[in-house]
Subunit: 201 residues, 2 copies
DNA sequence: GTCTATATGCTGATAGAC
DNA sequence: GTCTATCAGCATATAGAC
């Protein structure tokens, strides 16, 4: 595979992410993607196997970025409350670095398919994605519980608190698109206050 | 229009909302809806004019419910901070009462169309919806600003704080679906603490 | 690697029998 | 008010010329 074709693939993924973000996977056609890239839809298939493969190539890497990130934080020997603050900062950074891919995370995973005959190693894309998402959520909840146990956070309803924090972070891409000039450090400080401030002891 | 047909319409709207929630408007076919209701797709058109009309009949009423609700709160002569608490309680109640319709609010409005020739009074469905949403958001921000001016909240970054609060409330339907047995009063108390606690003076 | 042409199936919606 | 039959258009994807 040449460098040129790798670049072409990257361009197709980037344009697809933008289109999926705007209209969703189902409402975006292969022709829409081909138009955005500047070729006929048939030519796209010299670079990708299927529309489904594009979705997999966008969602699974971003899910792995999240998991790698939270794993690294968790391996540190910080107090749990500082781990939570670092996780929030990491999610902000990941969102700013990959806004289009991140935008697919809340809702587009439902279009991942398990039974794709073409891709031998992608037969369980849906299952794999769910597993990564659940791993992230469960580790987040575990660290949150530790922050309570260590006396940094009040004994709140954990599931409500974690849902509240994560649903804001998952939607950050949409707020950030309208406020791209904000200083990242300010965004971090404000969000940490918004999301954790009411729960501190 | 008979009572029976009104009930049939309500059933079609309810089943459509469930399907739109699960897969989105674009990925839900008229045949899917007909199957769920228990008739052939052609028969559906004795009850509805178009698929687009179903989306309008789901999204515009729920948007009006939100606006009516926040207007009523705003007309009271409460301190702004208490208005915010009441708005949160109202959003929780609206979500619990209309989970499927509420689930369409974050993302499905992009499929509303402005140029539907069939429906004389619905030519601007998309514009109308955006207007209702913007009205709600701007009034929410105004009340939030008042709560700061009245000394109840810290002088935070208003847009970040309002985005954070509203994105959690808009996603509540999805958390609630997995925790339907929770006591509503507990949910209200926890969410008010999560969403406003860190911002109080 | 891009194109034209095409296969096959699904889409929203309509016509007309009953 | 429900059905069968059908339409025109668009979907994903492939074949094969260049």
């Amino acid at each position: 595979m040449t460098l040129k074709s790798k670049n072409r693939q990257r361009e197709i993924l980037a344009k697809s992410a933008r289109l999926f973000r705007k209209k969703g996977y189902a409402a975006t056609s292969i022709r829409d993607i081909a138009d955005a890239v500047g070729m006929k839809s048939a030519s796209l298939y010299n670079h990708i196997k299927s529309k489904q493969e594009i979705l997999r190539a966008l969602l699974l890497p971003i899910a792995k970025i999240y998991v790698t990130s939270i794993n690294q934080v968790n391996e540190n020997s910080l107090p749990a409350i500082e781990k939570l603050e670092q996780i929030i900062r990491d999610q902000i950074r990941i969102t700013i670095e990959n806004p289009d891919a991140v935008s697919l995370v809340p809702d587009q995973w439902v279009f991942l398919e398990n039974d794709d005959k073409d891709a031998e190693d992608a037969k369980t894309a849906y299952n794999d994605y769910i597993e990564l998402r659940n791993y992230y959520e469960q580790l987040f909840i575990k660290i949150f519980q530790e922050a309570i146990d260590e006396g940094a956070l009040k004994s709140v309803h954990i599931e409500i608190a974690c849902f509240s924090i994560l649903s804001t972070l998952r939607r950050l891409y949409s707020w950030y698109a309208r406020h791209r000039t904000i200083d990242q450090a300010v965004l971090e400080k404000e969000l940490i206050m918004n999301l954790l401030g009411g729960l501190r002891k």
